[in-house]
């Protein structure tokens, strides 16, 4: 059964058809959610929430759309919500504790450490941590997932200017952290 037929049958009350969609798309959604949230548990919750939302909005699925893209957009939006909630929670904790913790800084790597691929990954993780939810979501979708600005607009509910600004700001932050590595290897 193809995806569009499965959606049509699920809409008519066939839960087995919806099960097919869940089994078919869960891994792809988990991968996206993990990249956006950087956290296994959050990614699991995003997958769960995305399918719940999809099930509740089966009636709004447009036949001309790709089911995979539709689910992808829902999951990206759920992951964006998780990032925003996480930021609000951390802001509240900071305001309780007194926000005197320094912003994560890129470590100055020595030449011997630069050979380690894990070092680049740690730098990139640090860069992602420094990004706001908008920046991180837009950057992950554009850079890692190769999505167009239009697709990002639809997934995150942002306009073109906001998406472009978010990507640019994210690139600036990535650059600050990765520049020392680039200089060493180029």
């Amino acid at each position: 059964m193809d995806d569009v037929t499965a959606v049509a049958q699920a809409r008519a009350g066939d839960s087995e058809a919806f099960r097919l969609l869940v089994e078919r798309h869960s891994r792809a959604l988990f991968k996206l959610a993990y990249r956006m949230t950087g956290n296994e548990h959050d990614a699991e919750d995003v997958v769960q929430e995305a399918f719940l939302k999809a099930y509740r909005s089966l009636d709004r699925f447009e036949q001309r759309s790709q089911v995979g893209s539709w689910l992808y957009r829902i999951a990206a939006n759920c992951a964006f919500d998780v990032l925003r909630k996480r930021q609000r929670r951390e802001s509240r904790l900071d305001s309780l504790d007194g926000d005197d913790s320094p912003e994560p800084q890129a470590a100055e790597p020595g030449p011997d450490r630069l050979a380690l691929g894990g070092d680049v990954r740690r730098h990139m993780d640090a860069a992602l941590e420094r990004m706001s939810p908008r920046e991180r979501a837009a950057f992950v979708l554009r850079h890692f997932e190769g999505r167009s600005v239009r697709e990002i607009e639809l997934a995150l509910g942002m306009d073109t200017t906001a998406v472009k600004q978010s990507v640019c700001r994210a690139v600036r932050k990535a650059r600050e952290v990765l520049a020392p590595l680039t200089g060493a290897v180029s």
Partner: protein, 248 residues
């Protein structure tokens, strides 16, 4: 025109429009062309976060957790009669407990709304629900651990029971993590893996799969840890009782 800004370079790198002037400048300026190539080299270094592999059966496990939340009926065969009453009652309790946790969560999410319950009462409601959940989960673990080794196990009843417990477990795990209860969250996480596996598994567990399941439960001391943390939760609940009585 002055040299291209960092943002213009970023847009050009991703193939977006940065304006006709930017395009013209790039075509004529070797320095900016090199800066654009440098940006490309730097960004190509950035590794995509690689998610841990969830296994081929991940979709089935997601479905096992999802189905109760969608309010879908169980299409599988009914459980054997001897367990029906126990499981029916346990399932009702699991649903009730989940509702209580939702009420608790709503209280946490919208603290500005007037609440009929004090913080102590809400905490006690949560503790009672979690302790009950852990006791019910123990029933599943005990039956799995005590099943005869070397024989296939008819796990229809345990599977249905686990299925009911999974969604409640997820809510408790999330609540525990958000409330700064890492020990409880860790036990619930391990418990959830076993519950999901049982819920998504076949009605009849083969001797080999059963042995593997028993080994996993025992090697990680899961049953013992569930008992310990369950009794700790009960103790906390008892400690709260006088305060909740005085505040109500």
């Amino acid at each position: 025109m002055s040299h291209l800004s960092e943002d213009e370079l970023a847009l050009l790198h991703y193939g977006e429009e940065a304006g006709p002037e930017a395009d013209a400048h790039l075509a004529a300026c070797a320095e900016c062309a090199e800066r654009l190539r440098g940006l490309g080299r730097m960004l190509s270094l950035a590794p995509a976060p690689e998610p841990p592999d969830r296994g081929e059966d991940y979709g089935a496990r997601v479905w096992a957790r999802l189905r109760p939340q969608l309010g879908l009926g169980d299409a599988r065969p009914k459980v054997v009669p001897i367990r029906r009453r126990i499981l029916s009652r346990a399932a009702s309790l699991a649903a009730l407990a989940a509702v209580l946790v939702l009420a608790f969560l709503l209280g946490r999410q919208f603290p500005e709304r007037p609440l009929p319950l004090s913080a102590e009462v809400r905490e006690r409601v949560l503790l009672v629900a979690v302790a009950d959940h852990l006791e019910r989960s123990q029933m599943v673990l005990v039956e799995l651990v005590n099943a005869p080794v070397g024989e296939a196990m008819n796990a229809k009843a345990q599977r249905a029971f686990a299925d009911e417990l999974v969604s409640a477990n997820r809510l408790y795990r999330q609540t525990a993590a958000r409330s700064g209860e890492p020990a409880l969250a860790a036990v619930l996480e391990e418990l959830e893996r076993v519950l999901v596996e049982v819920a998504a598994g076949p009605d009849a567990i083969t001797p080999k799969d059963l042995a593997e399941l028993q080994r996993r439960i025992e090697s990680r001391g899961l049953l013992f840890r569930v008992r310990v943390i369950g009794s700790q939760v009960r103790e906390r609940e008892k400690d709260l009782l006088p305060r909740t009585l005085s505040s109500s």
